[in-house]
Subunit: 472 residues, 2 copies
C-alpha cells in the first residue's frame, strides 16, 4: 500500500475500532466513542472493551479480532501496558492503520521508550502504520470524523494542521482547521507523511505545521519543497531555546536540534516561519482572504494622521513600500480636502471626513487608490464605530469592491479600540477584505503575501471571501 492510501485510512476510514474506549460518558469523560458519534461520523464504529458489552447503545467487542467486518482504522487508548497486545491483535485482524492515543512512551520513562521501539517493530513486521503514540489522532471536518478525546467544534476551513501536539486541536486560532493530524511522538507516521498527503489534497489550500523536531532532515526538505511549490506552508517550530529543547525531549521524545538549522531549512524549502499562534492567524488570513499581490506598494487610508506615521513605520519594517500616488488619484480626491492640505500617502481622511462625511470620503479615497496603477494593496486604519460619530455602515465596502478596477487588490484593515473582534467578522464577509489586530500585523501579513504571489492567493474559497459561518 502506498503512502497516500495509508493516509486515507487514517483520514477517511469507512470503519473504526476503538480499543480501550471508556465506559464513562458525559462531561469530562474524554470518551472518544461519544465524541465520534456527536461529530456525526457516518462510518462503522466498533468499540472494544473486555469489561462491558454495550456503550451508548453500541455493541462492544471483547477483542478487535472478534469484529466480523473490515476495519480500516484502530484507535487504541488502553493503559500503556496493554498497548502492545492491542497492536498485535490489530495485526492479526489485518488492520493496517492504528492510532495510539496512550501516553507514556518516548514522552515518558526508559520503559516507555522501549515500548515505543517495540511498537515500531510490530508495525514493520506486519506492514501496518502507526500514528502516535501520545496523540489526539486525526480530524477531518469534511467527513465529520475525529479521534480526539476532547470534544470541540469542527470547522470547514481550507487549512490543514500537522502538529506534534494536541494543543492546536481545540486551540487553533481564527478560521480553525478543516483537517488535522497530531503526529504525537511520531514513531512511524510523521510530519512528512502528512505534509505529502495534504500537498495532494484539493480541500487543503494552506498547511500549518507545528514542529518540535524532525528526524530525517533530507526527507523533510524534499517533501516540503514539493509541497510549497503548490501551496503555502506555515511552520511554528518550538524547542527553539536551550530550555525548550529539554522540554521537547520530555514532551515527545524528539530531538529539537539547533534552531539555526531549522531556520535555514525552512528558507530553503520555501516554508513561511512564524513564532507565535497570533502570527499564524494573521498570515493565514491574508493568504486565504486576499488575492495575489503583484508588487509591494501600499496605499494607506488613515483616520487620524498619527496612524499614517505608524503605518509608514510598519510598512518599512516589513519591507513594503509606500506607493507614490498617481497625479490622477491626487486630482480626483483633492476637492474633498481643505486647500491648505497636501495630499500624501498615507492619506489622512480625518478632516475631510468631518467636513463631507466619513463614509463618503472613505469610499471615494478607497476607490481612487484601488484604481491607482501604482498601488498593489491598501491598508486602512479605521475608528471603532462604538466610539465614533459614524455608524456601522462604513464597514459595507461593497460599492467600492464591486467595481472592476478594484477587483484584485487586498484591503487590509486595522480597526483600533475595543470592538475589533465583533467587526472583523462584518469586514471579512467582503471580498478581498481582512482585518488585523495591529498595524504591524497587517504589514507583516501583506509582506508575506507579496512574497507568496505564486500561490494565486485567495483561492481558498474559490475566490469568495471566507465567511463567518465557516469559522469555528
Amino acid at each position: 500500500m502506498d503512502e497516500k492510501s495509508y493516509m486515507k485510512l487514517f483520514m477517511e476510514p469507512e470503519s473504526v475500532a476503538l480499543i480501550g474506549v471508556s465506559r464513562g460518558t458525559g462531561d469530562g469523560s474524554f470518551n472518544i466513542l461519544e465524541n465520534m458519534m456527536n461529530y456525526g461520523y457516518s462510518g462503522k464504529i466498533y468499540p472494544v472493551n473486555p469489561k462491558t458489552t454495550e456503550i451508548l447503545g453500541k455493541q462492544v467487542y471483547k477483542n478487535v479480532k472478534d469484529i466480523e467486518g473490515d476495519v480500516d482504522l484502530a484507535v487504541i487508548s488502553t493503559p500503556r501496558d496493554a498497548v502492545l497486545d492491542a497492536v498485535r491483535d490489530c495485526a492479526d485482524a489485518d488492520i493496517k492503520a492504528i492510532i495510539v492515543v496512550t501516553q507514556g512512551f518516548a514522552d515518558g520513562d526508559a520503559r516507555g521508550r522501549r515500548l515505543q521501539e517495540n511498537l515500531v517493530e510490530i508495525a514493520r513486521e506486519n506492514e501496518l502504520r502507526i500514528l502516535g503514540p501520545n496523540t489526539m489522532g486525526v480530524l477531518n471536518a469534511a467527513k465529520n470524523f475525529s479521534t480526539s478525546f476532547i470534544p470541540f467544534k469542527m470547522s470547514k476551513s481550507p487549512i490543514g494542521l500537522i502538529s506534534q501536539s494536541g494543543l492546536f486541536f481545540p486551540g487553533f486560532p481564527g478560521l480553525g482547521f478543516g483537517k488535522g493530524v497530531d503526529v504525537g511522538n511520531a514513531c512511524d507516521v510523521d510530519c512528512e507523511d502528512v505534509l505529502e498527503y495534504f500537498g495532494e489534497d484539493p480541500d487543503i489550500k494552506l498547511i500549518f505545521v507545528h514542529i518540535e523536531g524532525v528526524e530525517n532532515g533530507k526527507r523533510f526538505l524534499e517533501i516540503s519543497k514539493r509541497v510549497t511549490a503548490k501551496k503555502p506552508v506555515i511552520a511554528l517550530k518550538s524547542g527553539r531555546s536551550e530550555r525548550g529543547v529539554k522540554a521537547v525531549a520530555s514532551h515527545t521524545g524528539s530531538l529539537a536540534g539547533k534552531d539555526e538549522i531549522y531556520d535555514a531549512a525552512f528558507r530553503q524549502a520555501g516554508i513561511i516561519r512564524v513564532y507565535d499562534v497570533d502570527e499564524l492567524q494573521e498570515i493565514s488570513k491574508a493568504l486565504l482572504n486576499f488575492p495575489s499581490m503583484v508588487g509591494k506598494k501600499i496605499a494607506g487610508i488613515v483616520y487620524p494622521g498619527a496612524a499614517g506615521v505608524m503605518l509608514s513605520d510598519a510598512c518599512e519594517e516589513f519591507g513594503l513600500e509606500i506607493a507614490e500616488l498617481s497625479e490622477e488619484t491626487v486630482k480626483h480626491i483633492k476637492p474633498l480636502f481643505p486647500d491648505w492640505m497636501r495630499i500624501e500617502n498615507p492619506v489622512d481622511i480625518w478632516i475631510a471626513g468631518m467636513n463631507h462625511g466619513v463614509k463618503k470620503v472613505f469610499e471615494v479615497v478607497l476607490d481612487a487608490v484601488l484604481s491607482d496603477k501604482n498601488v498593489d494593496a491598501v491598508i486602512c486604519v479605521v475608528f471603532p464605530p462604538d466610539t465614533q460619530g459614524y455608524s456601522e455602515e462604513i464597514f459595507d465596502l461593497s460599492d467600492v469592491i464591486e467595481k472592476e478596477s478594484s477587483r484584485n487588490k487586498p484591503i487590509a484593515i486595522w480597526m483600533f479600540g475595543k470592538e475589533q473582534e465583533r467587526f472583523s467578522g462584518k469586514l471579512e464577509g467582503q471580498k478581498n477584505v481582512a482585518a488585523f489586530s495591529s498595524l504591524r500585523n497587517a504589514a507583516k501579513a501583506l509582506s508575506v503575501l507579496s512574497r507568496s504571489r505564486k500561490y494565486n492567493s485567495g483561492v481558498g474559497h474559490k475566490g469568495a471571501p471566507i465567511k463567518s459561518e465557516d469559522r469555528v
Copy 2:
C-alpha cells in the same frame, strides 16, 4: 503661574469657554459642547458663537470677552483663519489656558506654519499657555471632563496618556486611560509639561507617551528621569522609518529625528519602549495587575506538553528563567501523576487532569509552585472552556490566591483558542491574575515587570485587582 497650576487649568478647569462651537448637534456633528454635557462635566460652560444665541439650551456669547464670570480654559475650534483673533480675545479676557483644536497649522502649509508662530508669539506676550493646535485636547475621567470632539466612553483607569495624536482617545486598548492630553502640534504645552504633571498626580500610576518628535531632548531626558523614578513610563515612538519621518512632518510638523537617538534616550531615562499598541496593552496590564516580581524565575503549568516547550522558548527569548522546582514541590504534586512521568517545569498537567479532574490538579499544582521559594511568577496555559470537558469554574482561583503563601506572585495566563476576551475578564477580576493574548506576550510582560520591581507594581488599584467595571 507655575507649570503645575497651568496644567491644572487644562485638566480640571472650573469654567470653560467653547469658542467656535458648532450649532449642529447629534450623530456625526462632532459638537464639543454636546459631548462635554454628555460626559457630565459639572463646571460652567460658556459657548461662544457670533451666529447664534442658544445651543442645547445654553446661552451663547458673541465673543469670549462678553462672558461675565472667570474662565479657566478656552477651547477654540473655529476655522483656522479666525484662531489668532480668538486667542487675542482670550488674552484680553485674561484667560490663561487655551486649547486650539483647529487643524492646518504646522501640520498644514507654509501659511499654517506662520500662523502657528504667531500663536506662540501671542502666548508669550500675554503669559498664557496654548495646547495644540491640531488636538483633541484633554480628558480627565475623574472630573467627567473632556474637550474631545469625538464622543467616547470614559474609564476610571490609573493610566495617564500623553499623545501627539487623537488616535488614542477613542482607540486606547485594554483598561483605557483615566487622564489624557493630546499635545497635537505642541506649539507651547508639550509632552514634557504633561509628563511632569502626571508624575506628580497621585491618580496616575502608569504613564503612556506617544511621541512623534521631541524638540528639547535635554529637557525631555531630565523630566523623564524624575518621573520614571516614581512610576513606570511606557513610550511608543512613531516616525521610526524614513517614510515615517516624512509622515510625521505632515502630521504635526515635528522633526522625528533618528530612531537610535530616541532608543538611547529612552534607555537612559528608564522608559519602557513598545512598538505597537497591543504590546502597550499587555505590558501595562502586567504592571498594574501584578505584584512586584522579586526575581525572574518562572514556573509553568501547561495543559498539553507542547505548550511547555513554547513556554520555555518564550521565557528564554525574553530573558526569564525556568525555575528549578524544589524537592518539596515535586514531592507534593507527584502522587497526581502517573509513575512513568517525571515532574519537570513547565509542569504538564494534561494526563493528571484527565485522571483526577482538571480543576483539582490545576489548584494543587498552582498552590505548590506559588509556595515554592524558587519561583517568582507563574505562567499557566489553559484550554478554552467552550471546547473542553471542564467547566468555567476552573477560572475561579480564589482558594489558591487567598493562601498566605501565594499572596505576592504574579499569575499570568494564556488561554488559547477562541474565547480569550470573554474569559480574561473573569480571570482578571482576581488578585494577581492577568490574561495575555499569547505566550510570548505573557513572557514579555513578565520580563518588563521583573525589571520594574522598584515600582511596587500592582498598586494601581491599591493592591486590588483591576475590575472589569473599570474598563472602557
